[in-house]
């Protein structure tokens, strides 16, 4: 009997093991690290979006009391370049130094560094640094950046084109020739600011030849690797700790300049150094997300059958390529654009462009929300065009459940799926049938009410290492786990994943508990410290942790369990096949009264004087698990909105979602991931936008302008699920970290457009702010009543 056949803890709402320290204030976040003799780093950032650096005068700053060091780019070249982990075909990579030396390429590009005894002194000194800039022409818009004569962000590349990434399948020209209906729409996935609530922070100390670096990161192992390589330290001499990390959403999926700088400064100055980002600074210096402009054309028959899809997109990558940036608009976007639909012909050309803006990389969903928004918006345009119920247009084109594994027209293979039941359940939860009555009631109040559907498929479980290699990802997609059972029976799980809110300490304990027949309470899960982990971990992003890291834990636990069974059989003088491991006991099937305690077995493993012949002493296992395929969770989200007819203000009055992430390890955590994801997705649909002026100044430069949703901006969410297992992995799990964000944006946006459709309104670009809606209503001729 394997552990998953009859799970006790997998699937249970186990209370989180990480909570006690977090609700008492005992958790340590990076900025909480305070060391004797600590010095503080502040960076001077360019106020210009594009300017040549003529001269930097640091003399006055150096004289400021408390200043330890003032450095410019040329002093800091020893830190090496910032890494990019993905190379797509035809890519024009950019040189990216932690501190710019020749010119500043976006407002916020660091140009000098100050270290002082206190934060205040560092800041005061930073204000005294005089930089002589020669302002250059600025380009903010990605399409404009690709036009001839545009200001060039990286002169050595000759143009701002980062890559052209075409993906084709089927005969699109024929599809459009045969089409009875064609719809086209320019679709903008606006630029967003991730806004993890904990600003980034880095602290480091260098003692006895060893660098310890704390960072608010999602990928401590990559940080360790790059810091070691760039600073010329043995990897064994660099310990990276990601302590409590206050959210990431992709924004901490980087090796940032500050990590290299703080490491380098701690090493060279011989005292601990810390840098903590301020929020407005973070709006400039931490990656942004999205920023695609797509021209989408859909060919279909009058009955709603899709014939072909053609998309041309320009993605704004910002001023430099960041760690995963080349892969976000390409690998994680283009392939999943067909979504849950059977699309016979597909032609997508994605182009990336450098601009004088903050670099863009992964933000929750990373490429997939852009894809879902694009396809789900055009599906509604099709439904509108042929006057068909949007639910039925979707249902008609769904890949049928007997078609899996399904090879998509974009060239990937969906593992498993059954899309119609999720749609049906969501429709029932949303009382879709009763909607028109609610629309009419709202109309009587002078308001507009709409309902919006979004059915999505996402790619999770990043990634099979061979697929990574084929796609240009310069590192394996495996994850590691080590399980150590101490002589007393105490169990420790070390994972290469690096949670920052996802509750791995709990879910991994549940997985290991079922394999080892003990309670999750007896299992300690440790993460985020490269000196404790199995060697290399990849980290937490892309909804990969469970489907890769969780499976590594499961496999390691199964290995340990196997040894427990062997030892148990030996001690109980039974056949291993008859041994049961359950409830902290090991016994022969049918004879629970003659059980050994789990601790007796572990003790025997270390006493090592009565083990089966040839068995190694000890009780631990390390696993590096490389997944054979991606996983493809799916679902349907439905939002219902009411728009104030006089102001255009939108309120989400009802939200229903049915998601399928395969087996759920802890439904409570799954729901939490969805709630947060849905809220972020609603944020994109209705509230959030990073807005630049033509000079490259970020107008939405603080939380006073950038609208992070508050509790009053979102409703309570009704959630349901279906469970379609994947056979990609032994637990049948798929991943849920980003589904909410992917499903919700199109649902909310479609609901708003649906509400306005009686006025003949077909599309409004996100975010669907009250003013934009008011203007659209007014333009439609109904505004003044």
């Amino acid at each position: 009997m394997t552990a998953t056949a009859n799970p006790t803890y997998i699937g249970a709402r186990v209370a989180r093991k990480e909570d006690p320290r977090l609700i008492t204030g005992e958790g340590t976040f990076t900025d909480d690290v305070m060391l004797q003799g600590m010095a503080y780093l502040t960076l001077v950032r360019s106020p210009h979006a594009h300017a040549r650096i003529r001269r930097i005068d640091t003399a006055a700053a150096k004289k400021e009391p408390g200043v330890v060091a003032v450095l410019t780019g040329t002093d800091l070249e020893a830190t090496g370049m910032l890494p990019v982990f993905i190379t797509v075909p035809s890519m024009n990579g950019s040189k990216h130094m932690p501190i710019a030396t020749d010119k500043a390429r976006y407002a916020g590009d660091a140009v000098a560094a100050v270290v002082a005894d206190s934060r205040d002194a560092a800041k005061r000194a930073a204000d005294l640094i005089a930089v002589d800039y020669e302002p250059l022409a600025v380009v903010v818009d990605a399409s404009k950046a690709l036009e001839p004569g545009a200001p060039i962000v990286h002169e050595e590349l000759g143009s701002n084109l980062v890559f052209t990434y075409p993906v084709k399948g089927g005969d699109v020209d024929k599809a459009f020739k045969d089409a009875e209906v064609k719809v086209s729409q320019r679709i903008v996935n606006q630029r967003l600011i991730p806004n993890a609530m904990e600003p980034r922070a880095v602290a480091a100390k260098f003692e006895a030849g060893e660098l310890t670096l704390w960072s608010s990161t999602q990928i401590p192992h990559f940080v360790q690797l790059i810091v070691a390589l760039n600073l010329g330290l043995g990897q064994n001499k660099v310990r990276v700790i990601a302590p409590e990390v206050g959210g990431g959403f992709g924004s901490k999926l980087q090796v940032y300049a500050e990590e290299l700088l703080v490491g380098h400064l701690a090493k060279t100055l011989g005292r601990p150094v810390k840098w903590t980002e301020e929020r407005r600074e973070g709006y400039l210096a931490t990656i942004h997300g999205r920023d695609h402009v797509s021209d989408v054309e859909l060919a279909a028959k009058k009955d709603g059958t899709i014939l072909g899809l053609r998309v041309r997109t320009v993605a704004n990558v910002g001023a430099y390529l960041q760690a995963f940036a080349p892969g976000i608009p390409t690998i994680l976007h283009v392939f999943i654009v067909p979504g849950p639909y059977r699309i016979p012909a597909f032609d997508y050309e994605m182009r990336g462009a450098y601009t004088n803006t903050t670099p863009v990389d992964a933000y929750r969903g990373a490429g997939r929300p852009e894809a879902a928004f694009l396809i789900e918006r055009i599906m509604d345009r099709l439904a509108d065009e042929i006057a068909m119920d949007p639910a039925e247009v979707r249902r008609k084109n769904f890949i049928s459940k007997d078609a899996f594994p399904f090879n998509t027209i974009s060239g990937i293979t969906y593992d498993s799926g059954d899309y119609a039941p999720a749609l049906d359940r969501a429709l029932a939860m949303a009382d879709y049938k009763g909607f028109e009555k609610r629309r009419a009631e709202a109309k009587a109040r002078g308001n507009y009410r709409g309902i919006g559907i979004s059915s999505y498929v996402e790619i999770c479980g990043l990634a099979p290492s061979k697929a990574n290699a084929a796609l240009g990802v310069g590192w394996g997609g495996y994850e590691s786990a080590r399980i150590r059972v101490h002589a007393t029976g105490a169990v420790q799980v070390f994972t290469g994943t690096s949670p920052h809110g996802q509750g791995h300490e709990t879910s991994w304990a549940q997985i290991a508990a079922d394999a080892l027949g003990v309670s999750p309470d007896d299992i300690e899960v440790r993460h985020g410290d490269t000196f404790e982990s199995p060697g290399m971990g990849v980290g937490t992003f892309g909804s990969r942790s469970l489907a890769v890291g969780g499976i590594a834990v499961h496999k390691a636990a199964e290995k340990v369990r196997e040894k427990v069974v062997q030892i148990g059989a030996h001690l109980l003088e039974a056949s291993p096949a008859d041994v049961v491991v359950e409830g902290g006991k090991v016994f022969v099937k049918g004879v629970p009264e003659k059980a050994k305690n789990f601790g007796d077995i572990s003790m025997a493993a270390y006493l090592a004087n009565n083990l089966p012949d040839g068995m190694e002493p000890g009780l631990e296992a390390t696993v590096y698990y490389d997944p054979p395929n991606f996983t493809f969770p799916f679902g349907t989200h439905i939002a219902e909105v009411e728009i104030d007819g006089e102001t255009g203000a939108v309120q989400i009055v009802r939200y229903s979602a049915c998601d399928d992430c395969g087996r759920q390890i802890n439904p409570m955590i799954v729901e939490g991931q969805l709630h947060g994801g849905i809220t972020q997705g609603i944020g994109q649909a209705l509230y959030e936008a990073a807005v630049y002026d033509n000079e490259g100044q970020l107008l939405s430069g603080s939380m006073m302008e950038y609208h992070v949703p508050s509790a009053e901006d979102v409703p309570a969410f009704a959630l349901d699920n279906t469970v379609t297992l994947t056979n990609t992995n032994p637990l049948g799990v798929k991943g849920i970290g980003e589904a909410g964000t992917i499903g919700s944006t199109p649902a909310a946006a479609n609901a708003v457009i649906d509400a306005l459709s009686p006025l003949g309104i077909k599309h409004i670009d996100m975010p669907l702010t009250s003013e934009k809606i008011w203007r659209a209503i007014r333009a439609a001729g109904e505004g003044r009543r």
Binding site: R16, I23, M197, G501, V708
Partner: protein
Amino acid sequence: MGHTVTLTVNGTSYTREIEPTLLLVELLRETLSLTGTHVGCDTSQCGACTVLVDGRATKACTMLAVQADGATVITVEGLAKNSEMHPIQRAFAKEHALQCGFCTPGLMITAVDFLERNASPSDAEIRHAIEGNLCRCTGYHNIVNAIRSASAEMRQTAGVRPKVAAEVNR
């Protein structure tokens, strides 16, 4: 020019010589090493720094430490009494109202102030009360559940459990 301030934090009286520029949140975190109170923004929007000052939920990033001279301050570290968790803490854990936990101390403090004034709030009132506390992880759904659930427990133990937010100055 240094100022001598005396304040009570979580029941302990502290006297410190400080500069007027020091913010209350800096005093708590850096001078007193009470790092459970967080800083999530620089424009007074996020609420991560919320503590009780004389019984009122206050953004400690928007108050000078010298202004807290003579005040009674409660931070997240002071919510539990004799190692017994406050109902709001239990409710946050039970309802999975936290993920990364960065916003959590501020949210719990705001909720305590609110619930001691409004024992049976509606969900809309709860959402309104926490509008000055941003959370990027939870989507607020479970936070609202937790505050509602804590309110039920606090109603039951009203009179037994001493109020945390003092009656003074409300």
